[in-house]
């Protein structure tokens, strides 16, 4: 990770953090975060509905 370049002088191309080395890891992390948010959201939601049904 970190910088893919040592100087911007005359540089052209991808300059994001981890260019050429870390894309797949961060892509998987981003997907996993989305899935985790949905799973936890569903748990919270279903619990809330159960409580409402008991009232």
């Amino acid at each position: 990770m970190g910088s893919p370049l040592e100087s911007f002088d005359g540089f052209e191309g991808a300059y994001y953090t981890g260019a050429g080395s870390g894309e797949m890891i961060w892509l998987i992390i981003a997907i996993a975060l989305c899935v985790a948010a949905l799973v936890m959201g569903a748990r919270h939601e279903l619990d809330a509905y159960k409580k409402a049904d008991k009232k």
Binding site: F8, C34, G41, A52
Partner: protein
């Protein structure tokens, strides 16, 4: 002399390159400053529209659902949607089309691990073009969102919205809103302002979901007759609709290819996404005429401000597929007829036991269908695309528009119906009865919409 000519030619080439660079910058900045922010305003509008149409006990839950759909759409479209658009225009084979800007090989730049999908010195355009398409995707989710308020689970809804925005509509766009799309090259399908690829797909996706979701408690009586369930704030809904109209100027500008940009066919001519010439003047004439026709038609047939503002949107949607071509009075009439269709369409759905809380199936599905067919009825014979060398020209026709309409209907309805059925079987589609009666805000939202005012709903079902 020859030396001087060569020098002159080199200078001209240099100037042309500089001009192309400047045009590319203008394109990127226009999208960055105008198109994308205006499309975000569409979402402000849908948020207000949907919350106003909800009863007080559900207003924040409706807002959460709408905001989440937008938020999840961004990574969802980044992960897969953008790639689908470039990979599938010629069909499921993922082969390259006549212009060579489609198919698996070309689409590699849009894969989420590609270097083009991040900061890249020398490329100002990819991110902003991606952004505009992402906002189109989010718009499909917002269209669907309003139909299902007050009884759908938020996670089930989000999963459905992701399928709609990151897969279904963009597949429709690849097929019918791309110069290499098989509906365009094979059938001359013309859908300039996305009446089919956005509105029909989203509207009929909502219909597929509504069948499995069922109506809100209290919507229908035992004899099948329907009750009106009023939202808690009609002025808020009307304001939201007007904001959507404002945002539509950005949405429709997102359908235009600017001269001189990387994807453009021309250095000095605006074009449709099919590469056919068009003018901003045409678009302005016809958006305004469709808008006016929709409002006036709705006023004439309903006298109801909700339907009048829905008619404004519906009038534009009715004209959307041919905004680049209509004679403005024709656009007015097409918008007017669209508005006239709205109420009977909504009443028909209600008679069929469908509870579409905001009329999304009607305004986007039915009027999107009308808009696509209207181009076939009144604009047949135009060349449908800019052809590549050796490619055969396709022309706009009623048959091509009908084929496109069938495809867009299926791309929306079938996935919506099937996935919502699966979610229903998994217990992830509808909220519990207790929560629906008590209200979704007190059940699961840690905030209160109106802590100091506005009377509570009269009855659990009202």
């Amino acid at each position: 002399m020859e030396e001087q000519l060569a020098e002159l030619a080199a200078k001209v080439a240099e100037l042309e390159a500089a001009s192309a660079g400047a045009n590319n910058t203008i394109f990127a900045e226009l999208y960055y400053y105008l198109t994308i922010p205006l499309m975000v305003i569409i979402h402000a509008g849908f948020l207000a529209y949907e919350m106003g149409a909800s009863r007080q006990k559900n207003v924040l839950a409706s807002g959460i659902k709408n905001i989440l759909a937008f938020a999840f759409m961004v990574p969802g479209f980044y992960f897969i949607g953008w790639w689908i658009y470039w990979a599938f225009p010629t069909g499921l084979s993922m082969s390259a089309g006549p212009w060579g800007i489609s198919g698996a090989e070309y689409a590699a730049f849009a894969l989420p691990w590609s270097e083009s999908m991040g900061p890249y010195i020398g490329d100002n355009a990819t991110g902003v073009f991606f952004g505009a398409f992402t906002l189109f995707a989010a718009t499909t989710a917002s269209i669907f969102s309003g139909a299902v308020i007050e009884r759908i689970q938020v996670v089930g809804f989000t999963i459905l919205a992701l399928l709609l925005g990151a897969v279904c509509w963009i597949l429709g766009a690849a097929w019918g809103w791309h110069v290499d799309g098989w509906l365009v090259t094979g059938f001359g399908y013309h859908d300039f302002g996305a009446a089919g690829v956005v509105h029909m797909v989203a509207g009929f996706f909502a219909l597929g979901v509504l069948i499995n979701l069922g109506p809100r408690i209290g919507k229908f009586n035992a004899d099948g007759s329907a009750n009106a369930i009023s939202g808690h704030n009609l002025p808020f809904t009307l304001t939201g609709l007007m904001l959507i109209i404002v945002g539509f100027w950005g949405f429709l500008m997102g359908c235009v290819i600017l001269p001189g940009e990387a994807w453009s066919w021309y250095g000095d001519q605006w074009a449709t996404i099919y590469g056919t010439p068009m003018t901003l003047s045409a678009m302005t004439f016809n958006i305004l005429m469709g808008f006016a026709g929709g409002i006036i038609g709705a006023w004439m047939f309903t006298r109801d401000p909700f339907w009048m503002m829905s008619g404004a949107l519906g009038g534009i949607i009715s004209c959307a597929a041919g905004l680049d071509l209509w004679w403005p009075p024709t656009a007015f009439a097409v918008g007017f007829v669209g508005a006239a269709i709205m109420k009977p369409s909504a009443d028909f759905l209600e008679k069929m036991g469908i509870d579409d809380a905001v009329g999304a199936v009607t305004v986007h599905g039915t009027l999107g269908l009308w808009g696509v067919l209207a181009v076939g009825i009144f604009a047949s014979g135009y060349p449908a695309l800019q052809i590549a060398e050796g490619q055969e020209m396709a022309y706009i026709s009623i048959v091509g528009q009908a084929v496109g309409a069938i495809v867009m209907f299926a791309l929306g309805f079938v996935p919506g119906y099937v996935l919502s059925l699966i979610l229903k079987m998994m217990g992830l589609l509808r909220v519990g009865e207790g929560a629906e009666i008590a209200g979704l805000d007190p059940t699961k939202v840690p905030s209160i919409a109106y802590p100091e005012g506005i009377t509570q709903s009269n009855t659990p079902a009202e």
